[in-house]
Amino acid sequence: MKALILVGGYGTRLRPLTLTLPKPLVEFANKPMIEHQVESLAAAGVTDIVLAVNYRPEIMSAALKKYEKEYNVNIEFSIETEPLGTAGPLKLAEKTLGKDDSPFFVLNSDVICEYPFQDLADFHKQHGEEGTIVVTKVEEPSKYGVIVHKPDHPSRIDRFVEKPVEFVGNRINAGLYILNPSVLRRIELRPTSIEQETFPAIVKDGQLHSFDLEGFWMDVGQPKDFLSGTCLYLSSLTKRGSKKLASPSKPYVYGGNVLVDPSAKIGKNCRIGPNVTIGPNVVVGDGVRLQRCVLLAGSKVKDHAWIKSTIVGWNSSIGKWARLENVSVLGDDVTIGDEIYVNGGSILPHKSIKANIDSPSIIM
């Protein structure tokens, strides 16, 4: 089977992290985003993966070589010379996606969930029509495009309603699809939207179905959602009884959902959790309090610091008695001085912070 991952551009919404690494390589729960997806696709029997990008960072090639070996898949870049929207890249990759009659997966690289690729393929095969889109239930459908089914059918889509004012349903497009190669004939090689143009055309022919996603779903393209997505992911690991999580019997674990890389060091009298990921080679000092935060590889948190709702970038250092909160995001190699307070600071790489950041701001 085949798959296309829509990566797109520079990932500016996830800056300052994406100033250092391309978005697919930013670790989500200690594993690069793209690896979560490659792993799940490979497990569902996918052998050919196309990455639709509109720039080509050299660093990506090396990482992907590794995954090709590790997961026994072929990964190729499909590079847009101009942005082609969400449908154009499919046409651009027609040679791979249309090389046989089997359907292919399409996924948005920002989406994190328990990828149901095998079940999705089975369901798609069962109804036998052109496309299936994964849908997730949301509490506030008015912020999204909502899917409405045919009255007489549980999965066949009747129409899409963009940001409905009145309740018409609560299922929204989750950004994961499985499509027959015939769909490629519906797309022109130009900037075009799969949601706005391609899907409505398939719906018109009564050939598009929805598939309900079990469990959590989150678009983690920006820091706030990256943190929320991490909470959901860790909760789902807990629910599944995953051995990856730190045991609640460890003295520092507080409230569960704590993921610690084996190479990380944790000091004495810490209180960590809930919803914390600690990356490789991280050093956490004594008496540190962490909750709802992400410490990326090589970062260091000194004694008595307090961190909440914050992403600490690679190799960054947090001073003693520092306090970070309110969706602060530190780029690579940022230093926060002792006793400094950071409230919603978005701090670019290699900066050293010596004065409080009292209100949300970007530190260039």
Partner: protein, 440 residues
């Protein structure tokens, strides 16, 4: 109409000296709230001792002073214990408190108690405002007084031009140190040499000067200084208040000093040492820092020994329990029976008696009130004001807030809660993060 101040005969080297410390009263010092809700300002501890203790110490160092008079309008009981303790510490000095039954003003109070001051026939006496924090170079004032055969010496200090108009401004002859002109809180810039609130007066000059001022006052309407839009209301208001009573509210600054400047025997000693007013509660933090630094420089045994976790100067009361992993200083005073937990950080702060700071909490630029509790990983924080600044408020997002965070008596800050630039009245529990607020 210029005042004729009687001149004084020279008196030789056997001259005797007294000191008067003006302590004010409970209706003054409202700017010291919320701390003055529980302790009279002069008795508030900075650098481990009451504010007036520092004045008294300076006075005790002047050779030949045998008597100190505290003048104010607090209840007698207020200073009883302080006077008892001080008498034990300074047996050579007689200390008494004289209570005004109504606020008489700084000069009015002196005049009211002139018999007590004149008793024993002192040739001169110091007057110290208790709300002043400085090194009190009284010996140098005395030296200048004798050198110049002065009638009055005032302690002066230089401040920034911006700040000067908030104080009494002195124009002096740089060579002779003679005071040429004195204006209290002028509207426009006159001088950046300001009145420190510390004076040395010849007894035979100052009382006639005050009497003349009283006489002038009863003969014709008060001429304070040129009325400005700012002080016009205030002066009329206070006049009205006193109407019908004996019109005795006389202030040294407004009513006496400008007249003294017309005499030729009024001099200024300009101190290059530290000086700071203790008006607002927040100003106790810089005052604490200045007195601690002074104690450190004079190698006081009272201070905690510097170490990896003690950044000097730090005062720790002998009855306080401080975990060895806590890091304190600089400029920290820890009061009696305070408990400081493991991994706590305290900097530029006063922690008052019986309070507790739990493990890993951080207290910066703050005052923790008596018997208050700060939870684990809590952060209680003020904002440093620039060195040399004479204000304790700062402007944040266009709003004036207190730079020093103050917790009144019996307050609680929950675990992990952050309190920034807040003033918290007594008996409040802070369970969520707060900033830039007064918490009633």
């Amino acid at each position: 109409m210029s005042l004729k101040v009687p001149s004084r005969q020279s008196n030789g080297s056997t001259a005797s000296t007294k000191a008067v410390i003006l302590v004010g009263g409970p209706s003054r010092g409202t700017r010291f709230r919320p701390l003055s809700l529980d302790v009279p300002k002069p008795l508030f501890d900075v650098a481990g001792h009451p504010i007036i203790w520092h004045c008294l110490r300076a006075v005790a160092k002047v050779p030949g002073i045998r008597e100190v008079i505290l003048v104010g309008y607090y209840d007698e009981a207020v200073f009883r214990d302080f006077i008892k303790d001080s008498a034990r510490e300074l047996p050579q000095i007689r200390i008494q408190y004289l209570r005004e039954y109504q606020a008489l003003g700084t000069a009015g109070g002196l005049y009211h108690f002139r018999d007590a001051i004149l008793k024993g026939g002192p040739d001169r006496f110091f007057v110290l405002n208790a709300d002043v924090c400085c090194s009190f170079p009284l010996g140098e004032m005395l030296k200048l007084f004798e050198e110049k055969n002065a009638e009055a010496v005032i302690l002066g200090t230089r401040v920034s031009n911006d700040a000067a108009t908030n104080f009494g401004c002195i124009v002096s002859d740089p060579q002779t140190k003679q005071v040429l002109h004195y204006v209290e809180k002028p509207e426009s810039h006159i001088s950046n040499l300001i009145n420190c609130g510390v004076y040395l007066f010849a007894t035979e000059t100052i009382f006639p000067a005050i009497r003349n001022a009283i006489k002038r006052r009863t003969e014709r309407p008060r001429l304070v200084s040129y009325p400005s839009s700012e002080n016009l209301d205030a002066s009329f208001f206070s006049e009205k208040l006193e109407d019908g009573e004996k019109n005795e509210v006389l202030r040294l600054e407004q009513d006496i000093l400008s007249d003294l400047a017309d005499s030729n025997q009024f001099f200024v000693l300009e101190t290059k040492d530290f000086w700071r007013q203790i008006k607002t509660a927040g100003s106790a933090v810089p005052a604490n820092a200045l007195y601690l630094m002074k104690a450190f420089q004079s190698q006081s045994e009272e201070l905690a020994a510097p170490s990896a976790n003690i950044l000097p100067p730090v005062f720790i009361h002998p009855t306080a329990e401080v975990d060895p992993s806590a890091k304190l200083g600089p400029n920290v005073s820890i009061g009696p029976r305070v408990v400081i937990g493991a991994g706590v950080r305290v900097k530029e702060s006063i922690v008052l008696e019986d309070s507790e700071i739990k493990h890993d909490a951080c207290v910066l630029y703050s005052i923790i009130g008596w018997n208050s509790r700060v939870g684990a990983w809590a952060r209680v924080e003020g904002t440093p004001t620039p060195v040399g600044s004479h204000t304790t408020s700062i402007v944040k997002n266009g709003v004036k807030v207190q730079s020093i965070t103050i917790l009144g008596k019996d307050c609680g800050v929950g675990d992990e809660v952050r309190v920034q630039n807040c003033v918290c009245l007594p008996n409040k529990e802070l369970k969520r993060d707060v900033s830039n607020e007064v918490i009633m």
